[in-house]
Amino acid sequence: MPSKNSLKDKIKKPNATQTFFNSYEEKLEETEKKQNDDIVEEFKDKNVVIDENETYDNDTNVVNDVVVNNEDEDDDYLRMLASGNKVKKVKKKKVFTSFYMDPDLAVEVDNIASRGEKGDKSKLINKAIRNLLEQYGVIERK
């Protein structure tokens, strides 16, 4: 008579189909992690610190940030989803760059970002620079 635990293990044990599909998800995660690790290493070699939560995009050779879609994009996405269409949530591409910051600003930015979510630091910097460049008339107001 099999024990209760061995029966549970048997039930929990994934079958071939699940294992096949899971292997692809694991493989994808591994590939993405490896690419991220490679890019982190590459930037570390150049004495550049990057946020390890950012992901590397193979197509564009840039480090992508996680972008929170604005309301209109979310609306379009949900409408497509509701109408039964297969939809892919498109992440906005971001270009990885680096620069030196004044220590007091860096501390403040880090403090703000630590209260938010992944990608908030980039959002804050983008917003600040965008506002300044709009004010200078370098770029058009959105």
Binding site: T17, F21, N58, G84, N85, K86
Partner: protein
């Protein structure tokens, strides 16, 4: 819109002409549902060999192409569908680097389409398709790769018929993961044997997993009996069991294998004196398949 109205007036004027009626029907459907005519995808599969997947997908492609535009795709490295439709058996040399493998790699199937007859095209395969999983791994290709490759031709065809190998593999999962807004369907082949009987739930599980993860529109069109021996006494029990376990899923048509159908691989379809005999069981099956695909087509 004005053009549509003018066209509909013309169609009405010549309404007794079958061709115009057909045009009118298609136009009114397009206007009503606001969708362009795109190809329905039908994948034939089962994780057991010798269940008539290649012959059934080949004959189905041929019969559908009598009235509609069909693209047949061979996703089995054995290349039986390729040989069946082209009558070419030296597939490794003749179709070298001209197969579905290269189409997937190029992300565009157009260069690899072969014309079989007026309404029937084929993307062939050969033994090199065995390298697909390795290629996917190396190049980071995902299960939507066939969908990407087919995108440029989705509106050129009414049907895309895909043959798969008898295995849980990338070659099987990729077609099942291929989305079409006109509908994606799987036909489960069954030869009446115990091996195939036990392969059915496994294949249904692959369909479910593909649907859940990659292609929410995927539907099981049905289980098609293609009996090796139509006189075997266990056939009736098998039919009852399938009906009981998968109610309503079985196609009413049963393909009873015969030599004339087998000889299609030798004689081909053109000027074949026994063609009517060879296609006897497939004609009602294709009608059934059309009905099921039409019923399950997403409305808008």
């Amino acid at each position: 819109m004005i053009c549509f109205i003018i066209l509909l007036v013309i169609v009405d004027k010549y309404g007794d002409n079958n061709c115009f009626i057909n045009v009118k029907m298609k136009l009114s459907i397009s206007i009503k549902w606001g969708v362009k005519m795109t190809a329905k995808i039908v994948t034939f599969g089962i994780s057991k060999g010798g269940c008539s997947k290649s012959v059934s997908s080949g004959v189905t492609s041929y019969l559908l192409s009598k009235e509609e535009r069909v693209l047949a795709i061979d996703m089995d490295g054995q290349g039986n569908l390729t040989s069946f439709l082209t009558n070419e058996y030296d597939i490794c040399n003749v179709f070298e680097e001209k197969t579905i493998l290269e189409a997937i790699q190029d992300k565009d199937v157009r260069k690899y389409i072969i014309k079989i007859s007026e309404n029937l095209d084929l993307v062939p395969s050969n033994d090199f398709l065995a390298t697909l999983p390795r290629m996917m791994y190396r190049q980071g290709i995902k299960f939507d790769a066939l969908q990407v490759a087919l995108e440029p031709v989705m509106e050129d065809y009414d049907w895309i018929i895909i043959d798969t190998p008898p295995a849980l593999s990338e070659h099987t999962v990729m077609p099942l993961s291929t989305y079409s807004k006109a509908g994606s369907f799987a036909v489960v082949m069954f030869d009446g044997s115990m091996f195939a009987y036990y392969a059915i739930p496994k294949f249904l599980e692959i369909i479910e997993a593909s649907k859940e993860r990659y292609n929410p529109s995927l539907k099981t069109a049905g289980i098609l009996f293609s009996l090796i021996d139509s006189r075997a006494k266990e056939n009736e029990v098998m039919e009852e069991s399938i009906e009981e376990e998968y109610p309503g899923l079985r196609f009413q048509t049963i393909i009873k294998r015969k030599a004339a159908t087998r000889r299609l691989a030798i004689s081909g379809f053109e000027e074949n004196p026994e063609l009517t005999n060879a296609l006897e069981y497939y004609i009602p099956f294709v009608e059934e398949l059309k009905k099921r695909a039409k019923q399950e087509q997403p409305q808008g």
